[in-house]
């Protein structure tokens, strides 16, 4: 294994992503958590670039680091008059869950450890966006349309749900 720039970059990005995740769990203030989350999302975008997925990386930054984080911030602001996340749930549950998760991780890691597939030369990085566009508009046209419908439904649903029902109350 050579100590290449790619390797270095990936290590740093991974480290930042993990630290972001850990901070997400351990910070007290919710807003701080969101900031930690942004770090994670951005470094994941970096990882995508390393994996020759430039378009996905761009979308990641746009949607996650941008849109989702902002939505979350709005959610926090709208719902939370007090900031601290209070006494967390039971200690034992945490411990048991931690053990369970570690076990799960271990089991999955066994699979990853044994992941040994010969690398094949790919052309993903060349005209990545165009490849994606071609795939989406030819092979995946129907799922794509479904996704648009889904987004529409989500949009309307979110509006309906979040809309205050005061007006109806006033009418009656």
């Amino acid at each position: 294994m050579t100590f290449s720039g790619e390797f270095f970059a990936s290590m740093v990005l991974a480290l930042v992503a993990i630290i972001g995740g850990v901070l997400l769990l351990n910070l007290n203030k919710v807003v701080h958590m969101v900031v930690a989350l942004i770090f994670t999302f951005v470094s994941i975008a970096g990882i995508y670039i390393l994996l020759s997925a430039e378009f996905v990386a761009a979308v990641q930054v746009l949607i996650y680091s941008g849109a989702v984080t902002i939505i979350m911030l709005f959610g926090i602001m709208l719902t939370k008059p007090y900031d601290e996340s209070e006494e967390p749930t039971g200690k034992w549950r945490k411990i048991i869950l931690a053990i369970g998760i570690v076990g799960f991780a271990f089991a999955v890691y066994l699979g990853i450890y044994n992941f040994d597939i010969p690398q094949v030369q790919t052309v993903l990085h060349e005209n990545n966006t165009m490849q994606i566009g071609k795939a989406i508009y030819s092979k995946f046209i129907i799922p794509f349309e479904f996704v648009s419908v889904l987004l529409l439904v989500a949009l309307i649903g979110a509006i309906v749900l979040a809309k205050r029902e005061d007006k109806e109350g006033e009418k009656e």
């Binding site: 749930t89 369970g100 998760i101 076990g103 799960f104 271990f106 089991a107 066994l110 699979g111 044994n114």
Partner: protein, 623 residues
């Protein structure tokens, strides 16, 4: 004789007709019943005479098939059956006639005749049955008839209790008969009397088995014939109308036990133990019941205990191998006891329903016909010479002497003394002295329909004994044992002093009663004063009922409550336990459904994690 099976059918027809249209016929129902029994009587007399000259006739058909077993039903006319047919149809005809007067004015008049018809049918059916099963069937049916008639005044609590008691106590005996019958069946593969005797005589049945079945069957007879210890229903059964007491509880049904033992006599003869048991129970019952009869004050109860005592006599005779003596006494007893009951009914009728002898007295002048007839009955039952009871009692004592049970013989003699005493006590208290009740003016003689049967019975009570006497010849006895030497000789030869002793004892009893109750030269309190405790015990019938109440009834109640305890606490408790476990599980499940989505997720994930780890450790996808 081929048509003997018709005899029970006439009362059955009467039963059915009256059941359907009795309400419309009202008191005319009596004519239907009387006519039916009269036809039966005529047929019975014809059959009886035919039987004198012809051999036994029997017929049968398949009643029930169980695999290869064919259970038959049919009828048979042998000597005993023919005689019983005659006795039963005669008494029943007379009682039907008598009831017309006695039950006059009762609103359930026709129902009474319905029951009488049913009973007569069953009783006649019983005596012509050729096999044990059929006997058992009719045996139970007469029990039903008796039960219905005892409970005829259903609105009286005493009648209700007496009917119940009669049914249940006889049922206890019946179960013995039931078991004995079935055991005997599996031993001999037949219910037919003839087959059973054949098997027993051929030695196919082991000795213990014979003894066991004989005693079990005797238990049935004990129940029906009111022998100790199942006697106490019979006096209580006097709650029924008096004609019923005469018909069922004196002449016919209670004698069925004796009849059963007589009919199965060859079986009993095969077991010494069984015979001895019968003799002991019979003799004990004879003296036991007689002693109670000494102090009772209810006219019908005195007669009832007398019946129990006389039935004990018959059993004692049979137990002493005196087949003829037992059957003979059965016959004479039917006459004079039915007479006594009918006369007692006439007395009760005369004094307006009162049955307490302390409130009677001086009726001899008022009841010109009933009085002498009652006296005839009293003389006959006391064994005063020249009347029927004398001959049959004498026969029994002779048979007992022959049978060789000196102690039992002595008991029987004392019982004879008691009998004479209480019967004359009854007679003197009722008919002599001053009237002690109220309303003397209303005392009147009974109508003709009631006196006619009494006269017939009175005649028979006098002459009935002459068919079998040591002086003129034992026609009845010889005829009864004809063709069946095993049953013993037709006449028991006893020394002459037995006759003398019997006469002496019975006359002594009568005289003693006269001293106390007739001439009153001895104070009435002499007895009760001297033996105060004894008197109380006798008056309370040896506390047998109380004893049963405290033991058997209490025990079965106790068992019932025990079972209820088991049922309520153990069974229900077990069910509760199961349901509560399931409910607990359900509650637990409900608790888990806390609505905490996160917990659900955690549990679901942990489950997955466990599965995945197990999968990984066992090498799952790595293989």
């Amino acid at each position: 004789m081929e048509n003997a099976w018709l005899i029970p059918l006439f009362p059955l027809v009467s039963f059915v007709i009256l059941l359907l249209i009795g309400k419309q016929l009202k008191e005319r129902s009596a004519y239907v019943g009387i006519l039916a029994t009269f036809v039966s009587l005529v047929f019975s007399i014809v059959v009886l005479f035919q039987r004198f000259f012809e051999p036994t006739y029997s017929a049968k058909f398949n009643w029930l098939t169980i695999g290869d077993l064919h259970i038959t039903a049919g009828f048979e006319v042998n000597q005993l059956n023919a005689l019983m047919l005659f006795i039963v149809s005669l008494v029943s005809f007379l009682v039907h006639t008598y009831s017309k007067g006695y039950m006059h004015g009762d609103e359930r008049f026709s129902v009474f005749y319905v029951y009488l018809g049913l009973f007569t049918f069953a009783m006649l059916g019983l005596v012509i049955s050729p096999n044990l099963l059929q006997t058992y069937i009719f045996w139970e049916l007469v029990g039903l008839g008796s039960f219905l008639l005892i409970g005829f005044y259903f609105y009286k609590e005493e009648a209700k209790a007496a009917a119940k008691k009669a049914f249940i106590m006889t049922r206890i005996g019946d179960v013995g008969l039931f078991i004995g019958m079935i055991l005997l069946f599996w031993q001999t593969k037949s219910f037919e009397y003839s087959e059973i005797f054949k098997a027993v005589n051929a030695g196919q049945v082991s000795g213990t088995m014979i003894t066991l079945t004989a005693i079990l069957i005797f238990v049935g007879a004990v129940g029906k014939s009111g022998q100790f210890p199942l006697h106490s229903w019979l006096p209580d059964a006097m709650e029924g109308p008096t004609p019923v007491s005469a018909l069922i509880h004196a002449a016919t049904m209670v004698a069925a036990g004796v009849y059963l033992v007589a009919a199965l006599f060859p079986l009993f003869l095969a077991s010494k133990t069984a015979l001895l048991t019968i003799a002991i129970i019979g003799a004990f019952t004879a003296i036991f019941a007689a002693s109670i009869g000494l102090v009772q004050t209810d006219i019908k109860r005195v007669l009832a205990y007398s019946t129990v005592s006389q039935l004990g006599y018959m059993m004692f005779a049979l137990g002493s191998a005196g087949y003829v003596a037992g059957v003979f006494h059965l016959m004479t007893h039917a006459f004079f006891k039915a007479l006594l009951f009918l006369a007692a009914g006439s007395v009760i009728h005369a004094v307006g329903g009162n049955q307490d002898i302390e409130k009677m007295g001086g009726l001899w002048k008022k009841l010109k016909l009933t009085g002498p007839l009652f006296l005839i009955g009293t003389l006959a039952i006391s064994g005063v010479p020249l009347l029927s009871g004398f001959f049959s009692k004498d026969e029994i004592l002779a048979a007992a002497w022959e049978g060789g049970h000196p102690i039992l013989f002595l008991l029987a003699l004392i019982a004879a003394f008691f009998t004479a005493f209480y019967m004359f006590r009854l007679f003197f208290l009722v008919f002599t002295g001053e009237f002690r009740g109220k309303d003397e003016k209303h005392v009147h003689e009974s109508p003709g329909s009631m006196t006619f049967p009494m006269i017939v019975l009175g005649v028979l009570a006098i002459v009935g004994g002459y068919v079998n006497t040591p002086w003129f010849g034992s026609y009845l006895g010889d005829w009864l044992v004809q063709g069946n030497a095993k049953l013993g000789s037709g006449h028991a030869e006893g020394p002459v002093w037995i006759q003398l002793a019997a006469t002496l004892f019975s006359l002594g009893g009568s005289f003693f009663a006269w001293l106390i109750y007739g001439k009153r030269s001895v104070s009435r309190d002499w007895l009760s004063g001297k033996g105060g405790i004894l008197h109380t015990i006798l008056l309370n019938k040896y506390y047998i009922d109380e004893f049963y109440q405290m033991t058997i009834v209490a025990i079965s109640k106790g068992i019932s409550y025990l079972f209820r305890f088991i049922d309520v606490f153990l069974v229900e408790g077990l069910v509760k336990l199961v349901t509560s476990i399931i409910q607990g599980l359900g509650k637990l499940g409900a608790k888990l459904q806390s609505g905490q989505v996160q917990t659900y997720g955690a549990v679901a994930f942990l489950g997955l994690a466990v599965l995945v780890v197990i999968f990984a450790l066992t090498g799952g996808y790595l293989r």
